[in-house]
Symmetry: C2
Subunit: 290 residues, 2 copies
């Protein structure tokens, strides 16, 4: 049995560090020290500080820390990718002490995609038995990730800019004023879902504004309607047919909004805690690695 | 025969003024004095200044000047709307001297839409014989307008946020850096068009970025690809079947980008000059009005 280790989910803007022992997190820290906040020398210093704080343990990093803009570029593992492929592609920054895991790439004639970090949750959900080894999995967020898993391998995946577009609309668009407040499940959200599944996003967005101008929708419903519209547009591109199971790995409240949209679009949502999936996935990579 | 008059296309950020005599523009001025640049008292002063400059002629305003944020709110004319309906709905700010034409609204159980200004070009294109009286017309722009005309009436119309989304992506998104430069017709644009007609916009946008990260698309092609993607997404929602005629009222270079996408999607584009359509439309309204 392996001893304890430190896992760092080191993203673009956020960082989460876990001290893991026997497959369970004994300490967790979350902060805004993502790679955008780092100078080139900071990475080694930050890693040393974590190890000093949590008992000189070996440390495994995943996420954007392995990108060109991160600590060291670690080549992507291509689809179909297994958890063992991830371990094999992991690069030691300091032998036996500090390692960075790769991301996954998908290259098909008509479509390319990349991820760094989300693959750990996908594999972890399957490894921990939270999701079957052959199914559609989703991680909602700024960039929503959808993975098709077959025999515990990621065969194909796709990223949607759902969260980023929502944020751009709220901060900078003509719709900004009508998108104040938080989205919530209710009639306006469900109207948005039904509109979203038409896949006419560019005109549906303007329609939301026109409905308010014409008093066909009350102020305060805008955020819920547009959230439902964008999420359904995302979901509709992925689910196939009635009763398609979708395993949603995420955090409240976004995971419940996705679950509601999946249900309205005749899918069957299953919620999985993202921290549990991460700890399971990173533990499994570590187990193969050392 | 009516005497000369002044027509002002008074939009949100831009203003175009025309001195019109016998259905032709003898003077044109274009500036950035849209309604956002106006204080409440400025409208009357600006109108008086135009009239003083161009010979004390009567003045007809169209566009956002008739909205709640403009000079005076003029109620929308509902679909199906004719040119005569527009004249009937025109409001005199000063009897016989200064008038503001209404916009058009579309209210259906599942969809609402509004326009203020574009209806003049749509009617003008038909009145001048530049487009048939029963066809699909389009005005590309920040908010692209699509109108279905039947017996010279606007039966239905739809607005897409195509240009605004493109601008948000260029200025504020993760894709900003890869969208530098101008879009042009070519292989990257056509690839974008083919991707856009899948109607999976949120994931197609991220795919554009992944293709650059994986060197599947060269830097400098981003603007053309994403432009093709957005325009095709807009066009695909509107055209129906092979050889659908689309009358595009616009200005270079955007009108030619739309024409190229329409052709690739098996439609038949016809280009119409927007100033010619405007002058024809506003002259016809004036003729009915006085």
């Amino acid at each position: 049995v392996n001893g304890p280790f430190i896992a760092v989910d080191w993203g673009t803007t956020n960082r989460r560090a876990y001290r893991i022992e026997n497959g369970r997190a004994t300490h967790v820290e979350r902060d805004g020290r993502g790679i955008l906040a780092m100078q080139p020398d900071d990475f080694a210093r930050e890693a040393a500080a974590l190890r000093a704080r949590w008992g000189d343990l070996p440390l495994l990093c995943v996420g954007m820390v392995g990108s060109r803009q991160g600590w060291r570029e670690v080549p992507y593992v291509p689809t179909p990718a297994s958890l063992a492929n991830l371990a094999l592609g992991t690069v030691w920054v300091e032998r036996g002490t500090v390692a960075i895991a790769p991301g996954v790439s998908h290259v098909a004639p008509e479509r390319c995609d990349v991820m760094r970090g989300e693959e750990v949750q996908f594999f972890g959900a399957v490894a921990a038995g939270l999701a079957p080894a052959d199914r559609l999995l989703c991680q909602p967020g700024t960039h929503s990730k959808w993975a098709r898993v077959e025999a515990a391998r990621i065969r194909d995946f796709s990223t949607a800019m759902t969260g980023e577009i929502y944020s751009l609309l709220r901060r900078h668009s003509l719709l900004a004023k009508m998108l104040e407040g938080e989205a919530a499940i209710g009639p306006a959200f469900q109207d948005g879902v039904r509109e979203g599944c038409k896949q006419t996003l560019l005109s549906s967005l303007f329609g939301a504004r026109a409905a308010q101008l014409l008093n066909a929708r009350s102020a305060g419903e805008g955020a819920s309607f547009v959230s439902g519209l964008l999420i359904a547009s995302d979901v509709q591109s992925q689910i196939r047919g009635v009763n398609d199971d979708v395993y949603v790995i995420g955090d409240a409240p976004l995971d419940t909004l996705y679950a509601a949209a999946i249900e309205t679009l005749s899918g069957r949502p299953h919620l999985i805690d993202s921290a549990a999936a991460f700890v399971a996935g990173v533990s499994k990579i570590w187990e193969v690695l050392v």
